[in-house]
């Protein structure tokens, strides 16, 4: 990547004025999205500038523990987000426990593998690679885990009677919950599967576009993108399976009973 384009604040304000124009248009046409758009845009600018500044500092320090702390905070935020997307009747402690455990384990394992095999920066925890990679993995882990967990809990709540009927007929916990787990995992990984199948044909994935824009050769950018998509998809699939299994484990007990009370208020 030689000589990427440096953006000045004037360039940024030009982009912002485009958004302002849209907002003015929205007021004139009374579509009523002006406020929402402005709030979102202000958050975007502030959050990203802050993160950029923070990362600058972290990259300069180049300490393993410092990077790990940043990653840990990101994981906490992701787990909290998973819980926030669930319905209000769910016990937050246990759902946070489940999503946090899965998010943490999957993200660390996958980024460790990726950093030590495919990317190999020196040292392997080089913040310049460690943090953005973990961030990308986390984003996908979060959306897969969130969709699966929400899907599973909704199904269990909706199909309580069916689950109890099967258990009463002497079906094992596994026989009873397997179809639900399968459905929940499919719900969680669908966006990832779609993303993989459509990559390059319908869309140029973000990293590849970004790197081409930044001056990388398209073929190298494609290889890079393949690597990243495979890494983040594996992480997402692992997370979807992980949360579904842990949730079923929590929702049942050693006598194969359905224990709605152990995850719902």
């Amino acid at each position: 990547m030689n000589g990427y384009i440096h953006l000045s604040f004037i360039d940024l304000s030009l982009a912002v004025s485009l958004l302002l124009l849209i907002t003015v248009l929205s007021v004139i046409l009374s579509i009523g999205i002006g406020r929402t758009v402005i709030i979102a845009a202000v958050r975007l600018v502030l959050q990203l500038l802050l993160v950029g500044f923070l990362l600058l500092k972290v990259f300069a320090v180049q300490s393993f523990w410092c990077s790990l702390l940043v990653v840990f905070v990101m994981m906490l935020a992701a787990s909290r987000e998973i819980v926030a997307r669930l319905k209000s009747g769910v016990q937050w402690r246990w759902s946070l426990g489940i999503s946090g455990t899965v998010t943490g384990i999957v993200t660390l394992i996958v980024s460790f593998v990726a950093l030590n095999t495919a990317l190999r920066p020196e040292p392997w925890y080089d913040a310049k690679y460690f943090i953005p990679l973990t961030g990308m993995i986390l984003g996908n882990v979060m959306s897969a885990a969130s969709l699966s967990l929400k899907g599973l809990l909704d199904m269990v709540q909706r199909e309580q009677k069916v689950i109890e009927a099967r258990l009463a007929l002497g079906h094992t916990r596994r026989e009873t919950f397997n179809p639900l787990v399968r459905q929940a995992v499919v719900m969680g990984i669908m966006p990832l599967i779609n993303q993989m199948s459509a990559a390059g044909i319908v869309t140029l994935p973000g990293t590849m576009s970004g790197q081409i824009l930044a001056g990388m050769n398209p073929f190298d950018a494609a290889k890079y993108q393949i690597l990243l998509l495979i890494i983040i998809s594996s992480a997402g699939i692992m997370a979807a399976i992980g949360v579904s299994f842990l949730a079923v484990l929590r929702l049942t007990d050693n006598r194969d009973r359905l224990r709605i009370d152990r995850l719902f208020k």
Binding site: A165, R257, L258, R259
Partner: protein, 205 residues
């Protein structure tokens, strides 16, 4: 195909859960014990405790063997609970049956057509579903059936049909524990009748 099963006994000893019990009861195979009581008295809870579907304390023995020595699924195959409202997980009726031979034996006795097995569950009426849910539970392993107001959604004619089937099950030496609201039904079926009042099982003569 339908053979007479061995004599057996289900004994419930001081079974209780939060706010319910302790209850003790003994049922012999071939008998029909009926439990009545006001709604909310805990009749369903009692049946579900015996089937080990909800957390409970106390002991249940099947022919002297304690419940915890059975795997949960093994226990429920022998002591099977059938709810007032049936649950279905697959598309067609047939997919819910493990023993089709048993189903073909019982369908005419329940006044149901064999074609219904190939139908989708959504095509069945409430009454048909309820009767199918009974047949689905009759396996060669069943020793005791815990029936929770199973006739409440049925028309008078179907009620009689189901009752006749219950009597045939008794003849095959299956023990029945039935929760009912219908005093006529109690008279027709009960070999013994208990009333559940304020967390106590009271034997009625």
């Amino acid at each position: 195909m339908i053979e007479l099963r061995n004599q057996s006994t289900l004994s419930v000893r001081a079974l209780f859960a939060l706010h319910h019990g302790p209850y003790s009861l003994e049922i012999n195979s071939g008998s029909c014990v009926v439990i009545t009581g006001e709604s909310g008295a805990g009749k369903s809870v009692f049946l579900r405790m015996i089937a080990d579907l909800i957390p409970n304390a106390g002991q249940v023995f099947l022919d002297g063997k304690e419940r915890n020595s059975f795997a949960p699924s093994e226990w429920r195959k022998q002591v099977t609970y059938i709810a007032a409202e049936s649950g279905w997980w697959a598309k067609t009726v047939k997919e819910h049956f493990t023993d089709l031979e048993m189903a073909y034996y019982w369908l005419p006795k329940f006044n149901l057509k064999e074609e219904l097995l190939d139908a989708d569950v959504v095509q069945l009426s409430t009454g048909e579903k309820q009767r199918m849910a009974l047949i689905r539970a009759f396996s060669s392993k069943v020793r005791f059936l815990l029936l929770d107001e199973i006739t409440s959604a049925l028309d008078p004619k179907s009620v009689i049909v189901v009752e006749q089937c219950i009597q045939e099950l008794q003849k095959q030496n299956i023990g029945i524990l039935l929760v009912s609201h219908n005093m006529e039904q109690v008279k027709r079926l009960a070999t013994s009748h208990y009333q559940l009042i304020t967390d106590q099982l009271v034997l009625c003569s």
